[in-house]
Structures are given as structure tokens and as C-alpha cells.
């Protein structure tokens, strides 16, 4: 059906365990799977990666392309040979208080990201491929850790200007699964980050939550018949393993192979400048 499947997004797309992207890939075994999700990546990086990917892979109408937009208050910088993608600027060690005070403005983030979302949608429409827009948090939730919606008049005007574009984005994980509170669902897995920090209640969706999200917001995309049972097993593993670490072999679907070879020419990523690369392999699901 689809010849290739391209997924773009943040850690909700590529993580230590199975995400929505892996579930889609599992459901379309004939499609070559490209996962360009990046831990901590923002929407600027997503735009850049999509354009770069098209330059290299030439998207066609036979492709399935799904973009998972993330929260707007992120700042992606390509520095010293890596995309430094540390996530939300308000909780990102790369940016100090002075930077936030002087250079961070939510209208700026929205101006930048709404243009990116429109660009990508116009671009994919022009390709004629099958494409969908998912989201980690609702775009008008500026700070992913607060359920504060846009009130500012400038920002409200921007939402009005881009109303039709925003209408293309499916409801977010944050609102659909978590009722706008990341810690509303239990139990949560425990994760050990590469820095050694233990995250006892990892808010990233579990494999079962990823499946639930897809079934809720993307019913038009049929999934594999055995997906429920497969995900159930993987989910059990994720919840019962208390030391999931980015340094370990990720929990994934099936017999995962990691072929060598860069997907994009600019291939190295790091998470918050910690030096741990990730995120960019071809995953052969079967």
C-alpha cells in the first residue's frame, strides 16, 4: 500500500520504547520505515528535517508521512556538529534565566512554529502523499508543563490567522490521553536518563498509551490485526522494567535490526548537549 513511511517528531515519536510511529510501521510491513523523531526536538528542527529528508529521499504520492508536532516553547540549535535539542526552554539547561528573560517570547515561538506547520502542510499537500499531523500538546499550550492556554491578544490574532492550518492537527496526547495533566495516569514507567538521573514517573506515553492515542485520533489509519496483543506484551515489559535506560537496548516491536548507515547526511544528534546520540536508525520491524 505505502512504499515508505516517514515519521517526524520529538521523543513522543522516537523513544526508548515503542511509540506510535513503531506501531504504524508494524502495521505497514511493506513500507520502508524512517523514524526521524528526536529527543527534545522542537518544531523548527522538525521543519528542517522534513525539508532535508525530501531533498534526499524525494517524497512521492506513495509515501505515508506523519508529523508529530511538539510544544512551541522549544529552541533547536545546530551547534558544533549536533542538533542541540533540549526540549522546553523553560526547563532546559542550555538556556539560562538571562536568555529566557531577554530572548524568549511566546509570540516569537508561535510566529516561528505556525509558519513551520503551515509550510509542512502546504508542502505535503503538494506532494500528494498521505499525511497526518499529530501533536504532543495542543499548540496553544505554550509551556508543556502548564495547562495555560494563550490569552495574549497578539497570540490570539495569530491563532485566528492560522485557524485553518491548526484545524489540520489532530488532538494532542496531552489532551486526549492525559486530560491536560501529564501525571494523571498511573502507573508510570521508571527511566534512567543518560545523565544518570532517574525519572521515577516517566510521563512519556507507554506503548499501550501510544496505541490508545492512535486509535482515538487516527481511526482512518487501519492498524495490524494483532496489534493489541503485541503491544500488550511490550507494555508489560516497559512497566515491569525499572531501569530502562537510553544506554540499553530499547524495548521495541519484533526482531529489531539496526542497519548501519546514516539516514540523513547531517546525522548526529545529542540530547541537551549530553553527547548521547540517538534517534536516527532505520528500524526493520520484522
Amino acid at each position: 500500500m505505502y512504499k515508505r513511511f516517514f515519521a517526524f517528531g520529538c521523543s513522543f515519536t522516537m523513544y526508548h520504547w515503542v511509540t506510535w510511529a513503531d506501531i504504524v510501521a508494524y502495521s505497514y510491513p511493506d513500507a520502508k520505515y524512517f523514524n526521524f523523531g528526536v529527543n527534545g526536538g522542537g518544531n523548527q528542527q522538525i521543519l528542517s528535517r522534513i525539508m532535508e529528508a525530501d531533498q534526499l529521499y524525494k517524497f512521492t504520492k506513495d509515501d505515508l508521512i506523519i508529523v508529530q508536532w511538539t510544544n512551541v516553547a522549544r529552541e533547536d540549535r545546530y551547534l558544533d556538529g549536533h542538533w542541540a535539542t533540549g526540549g522546553n526552554v523553560y526547563s532546559n539547561s542550555l538556556f539560562d534565566e538571562q536568555f529566557i528573560k531577554k530572548y524568549c517570547n511566546n509570540t516569537h515561538f508561535l510566529l516561528r512554529d505556525l509558519a513551520a506547520i503551515k509550510s509542512v502542510n502546504a508542502f505535503l499537500k503538494g506532494i500528494g502523499c498521505t499525511y497526518f499531523n499529530l501533536s504532543m500538546v495542543d499548540i496553544n499550550t505554550i509551556n508543556q508543563y502548564e495547562n495555560t492556554k494563550v490569552k495574549d491578544i497578539e497570540q490570539t490574532n495569530l491563532f485566528e490567522t492560522y485557524k485553518d492550518v491548526l484545524g489540520c492537527i489532530k488532538p494532542s496526547f496531552h489532551s486526549t490521553l492525559f486530560n491536560c495533566d501529564w501525571w494523571s495516569r498511573t502507573p508510570r514507567p521508571t527511566t534512567i536518563y543518560s545523565t544518570g538521573v532517574v525519572c521515577e514517573k516517566d510521563p512519556h506515553p507507554t506503548p499501550a498509551e501510544h496505541l490508545e492515542y492512535l486509535k482515538t485520533v487516527l481511526p482512518e489509519l487501519p492498524l495490524a490485526q494483532d496489534i493489541e496483543s503485541v503491544i500488550s506484551k511490550v507494555n508489560e515489559t516497559v512497566l515491569s522494567t525499572n531501569n530502562l535506560s537510553s544506554l540499553q537496548v530499547p524495548v521495541r516491536l519484533g526482531n529489531i535490526k539496526r542497519p548501519s548507515g546514516a539516514m540523513l547526511k547531517i546525522k548526529d544528534f545529542c540530547y541537551g548537549l549530553s553527547g548521547i546520540s540517538g534517534a536516527e536508525q532505520i528500524y526493520d520491524i520484522h
Binding site: 521543519l47 525539508m51 532535508e52 531533498q55 534526499l56 517570547n105 509570540t107 516569537h108 490567522t161
Partner: protein, 274 residues
């Protein structure tokens, strides 16, 4: 083709206190409503944002002409409380040197600028808009233009080459720059500059922006698709004489766009586009 609307985007090479290439193109398309949404200091990221907003508001179509004058790709614009602020070059920028030292990276500039260019080109292609892309300085060999040099970090040439190769088909769609075509790749090559009272230093300096005549030369060199009548050329030269014969003010003392033959709608006239 008779266009119904003409949209120009760019930096101070597009919107200035005297006639620019955009005003000349507008004069050559007298039936087209003329929107000059350029802003001095703009970088590629503001152009992407502004073009996408403009499309949301004006819904570009096949009867439109859109020309984008891409600026220095090292530039970065941020929307702050006071509005857009621009990091232009080592002298004129709103950002602290620590910001530049920490975050300026030529590969970042290339990756984001080329993605912006591709985004704009594909949008306009998909809407069957006639569009052209100009440039102030080379969008590839930008390190050679010392006035736009803001980077303090060494450049990994091989990494940049990979990015440039990846985006080759996009880069090729951008016409040669003013720096190459008019300045022969040397900012000192054209000494007869207009006098301008500097907006920061309040002293009279030689202005490095293209004169009306230089804009005319550029358009004739890189955009043969636009026919420029003798009358328009004469009017541009009238403006040129005015610009060269007086001390100009940054607030637009000349205001003689193609000898007052064009009326332009500027960004301040469009409150729904930031």
C-alpha cells in the same frame, strides 16, 4: 502577464528610504497592487514567517507575482516585546555578543535558511504563483562577505559542503547576489556612495545600500523576465540624482519611489501580519 498583485519580501535592499528593486518591479507592473513587506535587518527566518502569514491573509494565487530577496543567511530575527529585533552583523545587532558567541553556527544558519527557502518555494509552486528569488549576498559563500560575518566559531567546511550539496537544487533557484553582480564581490569596489545620517551614531556616513541606479542595474542583470521601460529607467535615474546629491535621513527624506510613480503598501499598513 498582467499581475493583479505584486508582493516583495526582503530586508533593507527591498524596502529602503529610496527606490529599490521592488519599486522598480512595481513600476513595471502598474496594474498590480503593490505590497512591499520588506523590513530592514530581516533574516531568512522572519521572511519565512512573514510569507506564510501573508499567504494566510492574502491567499496567493496564479495572478500574483511574488519576489523574495533573501538576506544574509547568518542573520537571525526574534520577535520580542518591542517587535522584531534583528541580529544583522557584527556592528548592527540587537543581541548580546554572548548570544552570538554561544549560538551562532554557520551550519545552523544554512540548515534553517535553506529549509526556509525550500518551504517558500514549494508553497508558491503549489499555488502556481510566479515567483523569483533574489539575494543580497551569496547564499553559499557567505563567509566571504565580511560585513555579514558574525561567527566566532571555526567553520567545518566539510559539514557545510554536505548541507550545500543536499540543498543544491534549492540554492540554484536563487539568482546571483548584489554582492556578486553589482559589487564584483568587493564591497569597496563602488566608492561613489550616498551620504546618510546614521540612525545610531547621528553622524554622516557613506551608505552601502544600493542606489536606485544600482538596483536598476541589478534587476536588469538578474531578472530579465521583468521588462523595464525607458520611462521607468529615466524615473529611477531622477531618484538616483536626488539620492546622491543630498544627505539622506533614515526616516526616508527622499520618498521618491521611482519618481513618485508607485504607491506601496508596507508592513505597517497590514496589522494582521507581524
Amino acid at each position: 502577464m498582467a499581475y493583479k498583485r505584486f508582493f516583495a519580501f526582503g530586508c533593507s535592499f527591498t524596502r529602503y528610504t529610496w527606490t529599490t528593486w521592488a519599486d522598480i518591479v512595481a513600476a513595471a507592473n502598474p496594474d498590480a497592487e503593490y505590497y512591499n513587506l520588506g523590513e530592514p535587518g530581516s533574516g531568512c527566518n522572519i521572511m519565512l514567517s512573514r510569507i506564510m502569514q501573508a499567504d494566510q491573509v492574502y491567499n496567493f494565487n496564479e495572478e500574483d507575482l511574488v519576489i523574495v530577496q533573501w538576506s544574509g543567511i547568518n542573520r537571525e530575527s526574534r520577535f520580542l516585546k518591542e517587535g522584531w529585533k534583528h541580529m544583522v552583523n557584527s556592528v548592527h545587532h540587537a543581541f548580546a555578543k554572548t548570544f552570538i558567541k554561544m549560538f551562532s553556527d554557520p551550519t545552523h544558519s544554512c540548515l534553517t535558511a535553506y529549509a526556509a527557502m525550500k518551504s517558500v518555494m514549494t508553497l508558491l509552486d503549489s499555488k502556481h504563483v510566479t515567483h523569483y528569488h533574489l539575494s543580497m549576498i551569496p547564499i553559499v559563500d557567505f563567509e566571504s562577505t565580511k560585513d555579514e560575518h558574525v561567527h566566532f566559531k571555526p567553520v567545518d567546511g566539510s559539514e557545510l559542503d554536505v548541507v550545500k550539496e543536499t540543498y543544491k537544487s534549492i540554492i540554484e533557484r536563487v539568482r546571483p547576489s548584489y554582492f556578486e553582480k553589482i559589487w564584483n564581490s568587493d564591497w569597496e569596489s563602488r566608492p561613489n556612495r550616498p551620504d546618510m545620517k546614521h540612525h545610531i551614531f547621528s553622524t554622516i556616513r557613506k551608505d552601502s545600500h544600493p542606489t536606485p541606479e544600482e538596483h536598476l542595474m541589478y534587476i536588469r542583470a538578474v531578472l530579465p523576465e521583468v521588462e523595464i521601460s525607458t520611462e521607468i529607467q529615466d524615473n529611477v535615474m531622477i531618484d538616483n540624482k536626488k539620492v546622491l546629491s543630498q544627505v539622506n535621513l533614515p526616516d526616508g527624506s527622499v520618498k521618491c519611489f521611482v519618481n513618485n510613480t508607485v504607491k506601496r503598501i508596507v508592513i505597517e499598513d497590514v496589522p494582521s501580519v507581524y
